[in-house]
Symmetry: C2
Subunit: 352 residues, 2 copies
Amino acid sequence: MADLVAYPMNGGHGLYSYSKNSTFQRKAIDAGKELIKEAISEKLDIKSFSSSNTFRVTDLGCSVGPNTFHAVQNIVDAVEQKYQSQGHNSQLPEFQVFFSDHTSNDFNALFQSLPPDRRYYATGVPGSFYSRLFPKAFIHFAYSSYALQFLSKVPEEVVDMNSPAWNKGRINYSKSADQVVKAYTTQYAKDMECFLNARAQEIVCGGLMAFVVPGRPSGIPHPEVYFNTATELFGSCLMDMAKKGIISEEKVDCLNLPQYIASLEEVEAIVKANGYFSVEIMENLTQEKPPPKVIAFSVRSGMEGMILKHFGDEIMDELFDSFGKKLEESSSVLESKKSISLFVLLKRRATE
Amino acid sequence: MADLVAYPMNGGHGLYSYSKNSTFQRKAIDAGKELIKEAISEKLDIKSFSSSNTFRVTDLGCSVGPNTFHAVQNIVDAVEQKYQSQGHNSQLPEFQVFFSDHTSNDFNALFQSLPPDRRYYATGVPGSFYSRLFPKAFIHFAYSSYALQFLSKVPEEVVDMNSPAWNKGRINYSKSADQVVKAYTTQYAKDMECFLNARAQEIVCGGLMAFVVPGRPSGIPHPEVYFNTATELFGSCLMDMAKKGIISEEKVDCLNLPQYIASLEEVEAIVKANGYFSVEIMENLTQEKPPPKVIAFSVRSGMEGMILKHFGDEIMDELFDSFGKKLEESSSVLESKKSISLFVLLKRRATE
């Protein structure tokens, strides 16, 4: 039950807080919203949950809101509608929502911004979703938005200067040697396997799991992905500062981001190999490209903790200034890149 | 689901933090520990919980630890022992622990200090225990330590200068006019009724609830209670500062502490009138009298937030200095006062 990688989104409600810089992810949630409603209406068998009159929802990697509140409300509304449409008006379930994220997440901020008019019992669950978070057969609907691209850890080889997968001078894999890419795809597959195994225990048979992540369109190479391009630009800003002698190049070599942008085909193969879940919906969602300023703010709210730990406070403003400029200069390149989100909806199979 | 009164214990791990100043309460937990073990061994019917193989525990008013971790571990150990003693070795339940306190509690500190080797799934639940926190029939063992003496609010009359229950010049009821005492006892009874009604919904039939609170021995007047005497001394320090013109007397008149020290007879009458629970154990536990310095630190860790809001930061050190001195001067008076804790163990009745 320990956190492996835990650089939380910035807490609180300041200029660079996640709560003020998450409208970009909000679009993906909205796109998934209708699909989740449909899935609950068509694929959720409420009769199989009749033993308990409580419906339990979790958001895995919830951060601090407000996105998580919109997302869980959408699920609660859709389940209530389903009960009503089937004539179960008199026995609507009670709802319990489990907001989960790393132990270092700002749960205080999350709890203090809970919607006062919510119709569910709210709970916080600290820990990594790559291990168990709940007892067996406990959850009816698991949701995760823009979190499963984060790996449990940086693959060890990519920061090992004696390995052929050493990722010198880069913080991302997308333009790196095949060995680096392989190290990342292997880590992603391992992590997803852990994730699916843990959820398979926790989700009731017939229960649903939906997740949204930034994605790579089928057949498109890694460097053509918008998200990867932005990350590479960020890495090059660090290298610029290293070349100017402001930070040490060795430290940049040691910094690799624990994140991987998968395609639907990769996700599907992992889910099928795992076997606990059936694939109910898989879709590429068009993801609006955020303007450079939004990317810069978004990256800062997500990565400030990691940069701080690695390089200290002093470089922060200069780093993000130069990142902002580089994004502006590269706007036509960025414009040509592919930006999608993957939407995946799985159902826990009845038999193990 | 709103917090009515929410002045949390000091968070973090600093000099005046609750986590560093709660050894005083620890004694009461230890005294109750054996009683809880006994109760689980003798009064918990594990067969009636067989439908779910998860055993759910909550600590209501958990603050930030470490007391709460010792307390829930004791419960978990005792339940495991019970299963083993009945030959259910092969089907030990999974445990889920719900740490609950006001929304303003420092859940971040709580989560970050969770025991790494715990054998339970940990969850945080923000909100007042005077309203519902969980779905129906969800909890198997509810526990609360040194929290139920806090009222949901200050009785309105005692800060209303037009009321005969106006509590001018005092922050506690123990030496006040009968109307003031009555306002407090009435508020306490109302709050306990809310507490019992909420728990009656949430605790499974046959489930247990134990709580420990500072108490008043049967037949002993309010001013003879150690806890009340310490509070009155604290109030007199505020009045001293008002007389010196450092703070306004009106502000002291407006400050009343939302806490009430009940006797076993009062608790028993409320539980019986409520009717949802049977009384299984009720005991007066001898409570060691903490030395003055410990009281001063303990009061500071518990009341700093409230004083800060009411009078600002400036008076804090002077106030607690003078409180410390007054406690030293009054040590023989304090020595003559009665210090006990109440231990109460209830079982949820099978029929409503």
